[in-house]
């Protein structure tokens, strides 16, 4: 006990009781009150990016991420076996767009679109997210190519829409000059053309890739040459 405090005995007994009762009432009241739940249908229309930026008071990076945290609280409770099925993807896209426009250097909205919301078991909703990723890629191909690569993989394997996957892969190949882009991403359009049984087109693209000078690594060049030779063998064996 410090000199500025009097002993506890000076506190009247009714005040002890009032404090204990008040504390118990507060805790019981709060524990009893249900936490507001967010249903998928509750996702409100997205604000405009300009409004988010104005509300950020000069901290757009923080507000963009807070907006993403807000959005991700909707739908998918612990017992929800069909995640995001009831979410309005038009509104969701608006929120992702607003968050991305508020902080264009953030990967959060694109990660959420390509890795989370596009995994929904609903082809139309998946396409909506892939289209959002493609749209965002076209604005900044150098910085957002990994997300379009992911979108192309999803279009190929989840949607089984090879023409959509090829369109994304073609844009990836055509618009990205980032030397860090791995070989599998550069070759994606070729693989998809092979899957579509367009062997002639795949052969032309492989040859073009070899001649373009983009492949500096000898191992990569050897791998692509081997694939070209294998492709030529397949074409020769076809009736």
């Amino acid at each position: 006990m410090s000199a500025s405090e009097r002993p506890l005995a000076v506190v009247p007994s009714w005040l002890w009781a009032a404090l204990a009762f008040g504390l118990a009432a507060q805790v019981a009241w709060q524990a009893w009150r249900p936490l507001p739940a967010t249903a998928a249908e509750d996702l409100p229309p997205a604000p405009r990016a300009a409004a988010l930026r104005a509300a950020s008071l000069g901290e757009p990076a923080a507000v963009s991420r807070l907006a993403m945290l807000y959005v991700q609280a909707f739908d998918l409770g612990a017992g929800n076996v069909l995640p995001y099925r009831r979410l309005d993807y038009g509104r969701l896209r608006g929120w992702l767009r607003a968050a991305l426009d508020t902080d264009p250097r953030s990967d959060y909205p694109l990660f959420a679109a390509a890795r989370i919301y596009a995994e929904v078991d609903d082809p139309a909703k998946c396409r909506e997210m892939l289209d959002f990723v493609h749209e965002a890629f076209l604005e900044n191909p150098g910085g957002r190519w990994p997300w379009l690569a992911q979108a192309a993989l999803l279009a190929k394997h989840r949607l089984r829409d090879l023409s959509l996957a090829r369109r994304y892969a073609a844009d990836l190949q055509r618009l990205t000059s980032d030397p860090r882009m791995p070989l599998w991403a550069r070759q994606m359009e070729i693989f998809i053309a092979e899957d579509m049984n367009e062997l002639e087109a795949a052969k032309v693209m492989l040859g073009g890739l070899l001649e373009s000078g983009q492949l500096q690594d000898p191992a990569e060049r050897r791998f692509v040459k081997e694939r070209l030779e294998e492709l030529e063998r397949r074409m020769a064996s076809k009736p």
Binding site: S4, R6, P7, V10, L23, V27, A31, T38, Q72, L76
Partner: protein
């Protein structure tokens, strides 16, 4: 007249003769002026925009003005030794505390009344009445918090910072709880611990996000159950703060 009522009357008189009424009028003019300005640039829902904006600004402004008034008034009294003088009179510490709280609460009631009336320009009387009553109780809670922190911390800035922290947390805690329960949150012991900590803190905070909502002015009054829950939460927390404040005040060696 009981001593605590006399003290409440003196506290209310002090509030009336201080700069508080002028600041309140200034805030009212600023809120109405800004609301009218924003309605001119809105392409739709101009009435709703004015009501929502003015209500939100007046609510936050009232809480700030009252918290500042209570903290500065109490710290000044302590510095001028008015507190010692008051306690030398035949007045118990509980009577002093409750008298002060009643006086500041009455000032809050006056502010709530003055800030509610202009909202009748854009909204129905039922919604405005419920909003105003909720604001009065919210301001009573703010008074109780300011009284508690000002007497405990005995300095203006720490007391105001504590009240502001409590108020902002009270308005944000439900959203924080929802974020902690988000579907994309990875389940591990750290997450479990942090969610438990957030839930524990929430038990000790008022749910200010559920009170004095501007949507009551826009879309009509809430259901009786919803309104009752929100104002009961305010009353319970104000009572808890008053009890905690009196407890601490009784222990102080003046």
């Amino acid at each position: 007249m009981p001593a605590s009522l006399l003290l409440a009357r003196a506290t209310l008189l002090e509030a009336r003769r201080s700069g508080l009424p002028w600041l309140a009028l200034g805030l009212l003019a600023a809120a109405l002026g800004l609301a009218v300005f924003l309605s001119q640039v809105a392409v739709t829902e101009s009435r709703e925009l004015q009501a929502a904006f003015a209500a939100a600004l007046l609510r936050a402004g009232a809480a700030f003005l009252l918290a500042t008034h209570v903290a500065t008034s109490l710290v000044r009294e302590a510095n001028d030794k008015v507190l010692e003088l008051a306690l030398a009179l035949p007045l118990s510490r509980s009577e002093y505390y409750l008298g002060k709280l009643a006086g500041y609460g009455a000032a809050g009631l006056g502010l709530a009344l003055v800030f509610s009336l202009p909202l009748l320009l854009w909204s129905g009387p039922a919604g405005v009445a419920l909003w105003g009553a909720s604001l009065a109780l919210e301001l009573l809670l703010v008074c109780a918090a300011s009284l508690f922190f000002a007497l405990t911390l005995a300095q203006v800035v720490p007391a105001l910072a504590a009240v502001a922290g409590l108020y902002l947390l009270g308005r944000a805690i439900a959203s924080i709880q929802l974020l902690a329960r988000g579907p994309l949150v990875e389940e591990n012991w750290l997450q479990w611990l942090s969610r438990g900590a957030v839930d524990a803190v929430a038990l000790l905070l008022p749910r200010l996000d559920a009170a004095t909502k501007s949507e009551w002015l826009l879309y009509g009054p809430p259901s009786a159950a919803e309104y009752g829950m929100s104002v009961a939460g305010l009353v319970v927390y104000a009572a808890l703060l008053a009890a905690a404040g009196m407890f601490d005040f009784h222990r102080r060696n003046l």
